[in-house]
């Protein structure tokens, strides 16, 4: 009797245990919004959180701008806000497209550059810089050539139709290395005094020159794509089982995979076009997400959106405030991210 009662007690205690997992999950989803607010106060020119809020609301309620200097208004609205928004959007994009690609390719070691979008975008940007183009031309060329690379990979995979996903992957790697070679050619012929550093700096990623002009295209693809991934997130579980099982579970796996690829490619091309080549996030943030919330895409997709946005915000804050000269983001992501991931790896208990 004693034993039975003890067991009953334990079980009820377990079932009414405080849901720390849920608190952690929803806390994670709120993190980027907190970080955006904090980031607006950070910078070489300190601004109080009250004045940041006043400045943010001033376009709607002009009377709130009283007491906020015009320098503060300009800094918050014209310089920091677009930069911070783009960091959050790019981070969320790279992480969520990484999750989607890892899911549909059943491979936890890939990111959305698998089909060559980033390599194509890199070449487009290098070409535009070589032609002496404006920031907007660089963004447009990067976006266009990113899409071109993936389209070429897709067209190539149609030549051989019996194993579409493997051939598509192979074509993606081939096209990616082709554009990487073209980028090297651009660097080789570029003027080493001004064009070459510009190309190199762009290829390492950075948000220094971001203005409101860059935001609409980025926001359009990032927000629309994230909403789509959010909607199909549970289906990514099914796709990750492979085509045969997805089919017997009532799905048309190839159709959904194609839509996911198109969506992830547009998002990544838009993100790279604004921020340059920022590696590491798409590959590693999904793993960090799995360590925190598990592999179920129902929670992994939202968690990765939040983690990616928060991580790139953190990195960009370090780049623009802590260091005397701005260090390219592509360098900092690895330098800061690897120690963070090692800590996570020690604490996590995922199935592998």
């Amino acid at each position: 009797m004693r034993v039975l009662r003890l067991r009953g007690l334990r079980r009820s205690a377990a079932s009414t245990r405080f849901p720390w997992r849920d608190v952690g999950y929803y806390g994670l989803l709120a993190l980027p919004f907190v970080l955006i607010a904090v980031s607006l106060t950070l910078g070489l020119y300190g601004i109080s959180i009250e004045n940041v809020l006043r400045a943010l609301l001033s376009p709607v309620f002009p009377q709130l701008a009283d007491g906020v200097s015009s320098t503060e208004l300009t800094l918050v609205l014209r310089i920091r806000l677009p930069r911070i928004l783009s960091a959050a959007l790019i981070g969320a994009t790279l992480a969520s497209t990484g999750v989607a690609f890892q899911g549909i390719f059943k491979n936890p070691l890939v990111d959305s550059n698998l089909l060559g979008v980033t390599s194509g975008a890199g070449f487009g940007a290098a070409l535009a810089l070589l032609l002496g183009g404006t920031a907007l031309l660089v963004q447009g060329f990067a976006f266009g050539f990113g899409l071109l690379a993936v389209s070429l990979a897709y067209a190539g995979s149609r030549l051989y139709s019996t194993a579409p996903m493997i051939v598509l992957t192979l074509m993606g790697i081939l096209i990616g290395s082709f554009f990487a070679s073209l980028t090297s050619l651009m660097k080789y012929v570029a003027d080493p005094l001004n064009t070459l550093p510009a190309i190199t700096f762009w290829l390492l990623g950075g948000l220094t020159g971001v203005t409101w002009n860059s935001i609409p295209m980025l926001a359009l693809f990032a927000v629309a794509g994230s909403i789509f991934f959010w909607l199909v997130r549970w289906r990514l579980n099914i796709l990750s089982l492979g085509d045969a099982e997805a089919t017997t579970l009532g799905m048309n796996p190839n159709r959904l995979k194609l839509v996911v690829i198109v969506c992830a490619t547009l998002m990544t091309a838009a993100a790279v076009a604004v921020g340059g080549v920022i590696g590491w996030i798409g590959l590693v943030i999904p793993h960090a997400g799995r360590m925190l919330v598990g592999p179920d895409h129902k929670r992994l997709v939202p968690a990765s959106l939040a983690l990616g946005a928060s991580f790139l915000l953190l990195i960009d804050n370090i780049s623009r405030t802590l260091l005397p000269a701005e260090v390219p983001l592509g360098i900092l992501t690895g330098l800061v991210g690897v120690p963070l991931l090692v800590v996570l790896l020690r604490r996590s208990r995922t199935g592998w």
Partner: protein, 262 residues
């Protein structure tokens, strides 16, 4: 219920893998597919599940062509329990079973409370309730097979196709899995089971389709199909059936090679 008529299929012209296979599956029965590697069992299973369209012949469920159903409708009726595998991601047992709810949810939907309930019931009926939150990738082969059966149950279809449920399992787990299948058949579910263990067909099959080189060598009651002559022809060897006394009657208990070394 599930009927196949004159199925013929070739992956390359002139080399048919299926040649005129017909079968009928009744409610609450277990149909075993036996035959050598490459005799067409997997192709037949893929046709029955709708993954593959046969070149010729028709498959009907309740007298309606299975390709006249939408993929979702078909998956609500015919399910596939794959061979045990290792997925790329370490889903929990419960998440794995929940995926059986896919044909009952909208494309943009996620499982709701009722789906969790159905998944938990399915887990209970294979006796794995206590495994609910463990990673599927850390289970043994027998346990994984049971989880995949639970996923098939959560799918709530009438016909379940099982691809070699006895592969990679020890004797104990083969029995554990097949006893659960037999129990589910008693409750009205129908199973098509492909297998390389004819001894299990002796115990569990209501019907046996013995295949050879894409053709049906024999189809019918186990007592008529699992004979030394037919098995010898199907497996290209000299097969012997060992009998044992069950009370007053002799029953076939094992199929063994006649000239095996000792």
């Amino acid at each position: 219920m599930l009927k196949a008529a004159n199925l013929t299929h070739a992956y390359a012209p002139g080399a048919p893998v299926l040649r005129g296979i017909s079968l009928t599956l009744e409610a609450g029965t277990i149909l075993y597919l036996l035959g050598r590697n490459g005799c067409g069992k997997t192709t037949l299973m893929n046709c029955l599940s709708g993954i593959l369209r046969p070149d010729e012949g028709t498959i009907t469920f309740n007298d309606k062509d299975i390709h006249a159903y939408t993929p979702t409708e078909r998956a609500q009726r015919i399910g596939m329990i794959p061979q045990i595998h290792t997925p790329a991601f370490a889903y929990t047992v419960r998440e794995m079973v929940l995926m059986g709810r896919a044909p009952h949810l909208a494309l943009f939907g996620s499982p709701r409370a009722v789906d969790y309930e159905i998944a938990d019931q399915a887990l209970a009926s294979v006796g794995l309730t206590s495994y609910r939150d463990r990673p599927y990738t850390q289970l043994s082969g027998g346990e994984r097979q049971l989880v995949l059966i639970a996923r098939g149950l959560a799918q709530q279809c009438t016909v379940l196709l099982m691809d070699e449920p006895d592969a990679h399992l020890d004797l104990n787990n083969q029995q554990r899995v097949m006893e659960i299948v037999a129990h589910l058949a008693e409750q009205g579910l129908s199973f098509v089971v492909s297998s390389h263990v004819p001894n299990n067909a002796l115990v569990y099959a209501h019907q046996v389709l013995l295949m050879k080189a894409g053709r049906a060598l024999a189809l019918g009651d186990p007592s008529q199909v699992l004979t030394e002559a037919l098995l010898s022809a199907a497996y290209d060897m000299d097969a012997e059936i060992v009998y044992a006394m069950d009370g007053e009657t002799m029953v076939p208990r094992a199929i063994v090679p006649r000239n095996g070394r000792r």
